[in-house]
């Protein structure tokens, strides 16, 4: 049972298409795990249509209609043949459908009891998508953020100043927040995170790790 859901604002941005691709993948992965949010999201699409209808119109270039009209008889573009999916490296866990086919770097050591794997999101030049694996009863280094960070728990649980986060739970951190997640439940915790800007880790290991990850 998920307890921490994306904010309505985040769902609205996903609906409008204005979230970065990496952040959208984290929210879509939550939707794959949470029926309530998937239903709320479906209701937002008609809302988008309705809001579009009610937007005040802008002036158009007078020739735009003629130009569009001239293109109506163009041959239709051939359907795009999508490349066969690359073999996905086995990370030892089942990933939600939205990220299941992503190429990854495989697990890399990040510190005692900690590993990360980068997920390839070539369509996002600004935000990174990573999996973090933290051993039982380990504390993640205290860190602040220099941008928006979304974290989704895929396995195990962690606790921080804001509460307890278990499988399916999503947290949003931004510029002002600092937190010190502790992995609980005696089980390894795996999280999916989209990270904008550079992490500002306070601990030495974290600092080292961030230079290895290249965040």
């Amino acid at each position: 049972m998920t307890a921490h859901h994306p904010s309505p604002e985040l769902l609205a941005r996903l609906t409008a298409g204005s979230l970065s691709p990496a952040a959208a993948l984290v929210v879509e992965s939550h939707l794959a795990l949470c029926d309530d949010c998937a239903a709320a999201y479906r209701a937002l699409l008609p809302l988008g249509g309705l809001l579009l209808e009610r937007l005040s119109p802008s002036d158009l270039d007078a020739r735009l209609f003629e130009r569009t009209l001239a293109r109506l008889d163009e041959p239709r573009p051939a359907p795009v043949v999508t490349a066969a999916p690359r073999p996905v490296r086995d990370l030892g866990l089942v990933l939600p459908a939205p990220i299941a086919d992503r190429a990854t770097s495989g697990w890399r050591w990040m510190g005692p009891g900690m590993a990360f794997a980068r997920l390839d999101v070539p369509e996002d030049s600004r935000v990174s998508l990573v999996l973090l694996k933290i051993g039982a009863n380990r504390r993640m280094p205290t860190h602040g953020h220099s941008g928006e960070e979304l974290t989704l728990v895929l396995r195990g649980a962690f606790e921080d100043e804001h509460g307890r986060f278990a499988v399916g739970d999503l947290t949003e951190e931004d510029d002002d927040s600092h937190h010190t997640p502790l992995v609980t439940d005696g089980e390894t915790c795996v999280c999916l995170a989209s990270i904008e800007g550079r992490l500002r880790p306070h601990g030495l290991i974290a600092r080292l790790a961030s230079s290895w990850i290249g965040l």
């Binding site: 008609p46 579009l52 130009r67 369509e123």
Partner: protein, 191 residues
């Protein structure tokens, strides 16, 4: 033939659906002109607020309306309103354009023309959903409706909402939550 421009008369959902049907059945260009006259100027507002520049806006409006022309036969009147359909097409094309731009920035490679990711087009939306959302939005206080519109259509929703309502940035999230919860509550009410 010309579209009526920004002062096109309003277009209700039933008429919009009839126009799409006329395009599907007989390639009716008058019907296309009428849809263009209503939607293109609003798509421009949507795309501008999303941060697209003038030439990207023009390209995306053309591509959206071209998709309306080509896919009219696939539009299912039972599966939701024309506005939801057009919104989804335009949104997907916008997402696709941003992605291609980012790929180019990263790889410096030309990227072939791709169809927009239709991640949601196949989702279950019904005409019923549209009608419910319409009723709910109409019952919402103006201020809350505005908060919702801004959180959808603004590039920096937090700042814009704070400015529009004259409230501190820190209270924006709770205002959006309040408005969305109210809307959700209205959606859950039996009609």
């Amino acid at each position: 033939m010309r579209p009526a421009g920004a002062n096109a008369p309003p277009l209700d959902g039933t008429e919009a659906a009839r126009l799409v049907e006329a395009i599907a059945l007989s390639g009716d260009r008058q019907a296309f002109a009428r849809l263009f006259a209503f939607y293109a100027p609003r798509l421009k507002t949507f795309l501008t607020r999303q941060g697209f520049g003038a030439s990207d806006c023009d390209d995306l409006i053309q591509d959206t309306m071209l998709a309306v022309w080509r896919k009219a036969g696939q539009f299912d009147v039972e599966a939701g309103a024309v506005s939801t359909w057009i919104f989804t097409i335009c949104r997907n094309l916008g997402i696709d354009r941003r992605r291609r731009l980012a790929r180019r920035l990263r790889d410096d490679l030309p990227v072939s023309d791709v169809d927009p990711a239709p991640s949601v087009e196949g989702e279950m939306i019904t005409r019923e959903d549209d009608a419910r959302v319409r009723r709910a939005l109409d019952q919402l206080p103006t201020e809350q409706a505005e908060v919702i519109a801004l959180s959808f259509f603004s590039q920096s929703p937090q700042t814009d909402i704070a400015k529009a309502l004259g409230i501190p940035l820190g209270t924006v999230k709770s205002r959006v939550r309040l408005a969305m919860n109210r809307l959700r509550h209205l959606l859950d009410e039996p009609s």
